[in-house]
Amino acid sequence: MTSSLSNVPDASGRFGEFGRRFVPETLMHALEELTREYEKAKQDPSFQAELDDLLKNYVGRPNPLYFAERLTQHCGGGKIFFKREDLNHTGAHKINNTIGQALLTMRMGKKRVIAETGAGQHGVASAVACARFGIECIVYMGEEDIRRQKLNVFNMKMMGAEVRGVTSGSRTLRDAVNEAMRDWMSSVETTHYIIGSVIGPHPFPMMVRDFQSVIGKEARAQCLEQTGRLPDHVIACVGGGSNSAGMFYPFIDDASVKLTGVEAGGRGPEPGEHASTLSYGAKGVLHGSFGYVLQDDDGQTMDVHSISAGLDYPGVGPEHSYWKDSGRVNYTAITDDEALEGFQTMAKLEGIIPAIESSHAIAHAIKAARESGPDETIVVCLSGRGDKDVNEVARLLGREI
């Protein structure tokens, strides 16, 4: 039996009261077309077979569920396991979604793709998928993020993508989404917009969650195989919320499994100092969907801060908003400093350099492990590797590379 919590969204894209489509009329027809095309693809065994083949032979799935023995000893509590999305081709979970959407782009006969990126991981994953299928690729990226993520910018260009710097607003992920939407307004007949997170108008939040759910499905089966039972606790970081949605969704109906989403606590709880949308935001509209938003009393989106470009976003996916209000998922925040410490602990004890986004989940997992007994199992989504972050981390630690 399917519980109502996992049986969302409805045909109009509602997760409870959240989601829907708040976009200009010019985009509505394309969204209806995309919804139909995606439903058809889901029913088509050849689409799933092609996707599975690419995930196995191109992305390198399934990736391991790894028992972190030394980190577990260090914490002295529950057993910590990592779902190794960092071992995917491109080094992050984003490719699970871009491969799926690139296949859809081919089915729709569109020849051009646009994407937005914050940390650059989604931009790289889009560039990779487009190179693989021979599709033109334009990536919108805030100038501030281009500065923070030079390596990814170089990689995108190597694979033939055009990176367009965005100079409006805060010059980060939110502004990159705005610019991509504007491009799409005039190119929608020939172009597909590969949104990189579980945000935006219906069907994007559902579609991205579905493509990312391979993370949670594998982790669930691997945990059962390795430990003989389900995990007690699953933890993932939340910016827009794609790795966490993919990780949590297959566990939603497992009532015994505690789910925790970790947001960017930045420098502290004052407005403008963090990006903890679910902890401090209010209901509202951003980028085409209804959900929690960091905004002022007039509904103007607020500037946000995080050490991590991938979590530096003032909105969050509508399904996370739904999970928060239903109480199914707990949301908490980890500060910049705690994430930096998690980053270093992980490197020293496990020989794994994590993405600074994933370091938020690691830092919370360390706390959770200390508060739990040795019989408990904690599964953490290690959503990406940290090569892209070493320059910024070195700068913050006052070291030279």
Binding site: S12, R20, R21, F22, V23, P24, E25, T26, M28, H29, A30, S168, G169, R174, N178, M181, R182, M185, S186, V188, E189, A282, K283, G284, V285, L286, H287, G288, F290, V293, Q295, D297, D298, G299, Q300, T301
Partner: protein
Amino acid sequence: MTTSISEKFAQVKSENRMAFMPFITAGDPDLETTVAVLKELAAQGVDLIEIGFPYSDPIADGPVIQESYTRALNNKFHVRELFESLNELSADKSVSLPPLVAMVSYAIIFRYGADRFLQEAAGAGFSGLIVPDLPGDEASEFADQVKASELDLVQLVSPLTPEERTKRIVQSASGFIYCISVAGTTGVRDDLPPELTAHLESLRQLTDLPLAVGFGISNPEHVNTLRGKADGFIIGSAIVKQFAAFSDASQKREDIIERIGEYAGKMAAATRG
């Protein structure tokens, strides 16, 4: 007092011309200027005025209006203060304003509180609303609230809107239909697309509401192209780009307002052919 949108379109039609609706951003660069420009536009005989509420993430707008919104927000624009300024202006018996139409994101309406927003907007003299991120499908509940406040809810139709959608959209619309001339964002363009004529003709079959064309219009030649096909037109970016001059210390405020007035007067004259 302001007249209603439908009365205005009926009057314009009886004069055998098109309605001209300039767009300005509220609070660019401050509300005092907004009020001064509103008076100037009224004096130039424009038929309606569209007032844009600055929004931090305007995805339907091109760079000119985005920058205008940013200037207003940097200068701490607040919705409540706009309503207060308009209340004061409508108390000024020496000024006769044409119908005012609010262009406002649903993000702002929702956060402000839909009931409170509609009540205060009506009180401040608005006759209708355009909510660019609330497409017909999402609008039915809100359309009822708007109607209860005795305001019009103007709906947008894009060249990419299929006929089936258009039929549903015109059902919940009132005041006029905002016909987007091109698939894209707001901004000045050299020519109007040739498909526009056919689009307007097909729309005319589906609704008796006035058809007003927006996006890309900036000169009397554009207006001539629309004559006999549309009931009105909207000019945004060509006016709003002149507001950048207010932050130029070497220019006098009165001169800039006079230039905006001259341009509006020229376009108002163009409605008569």
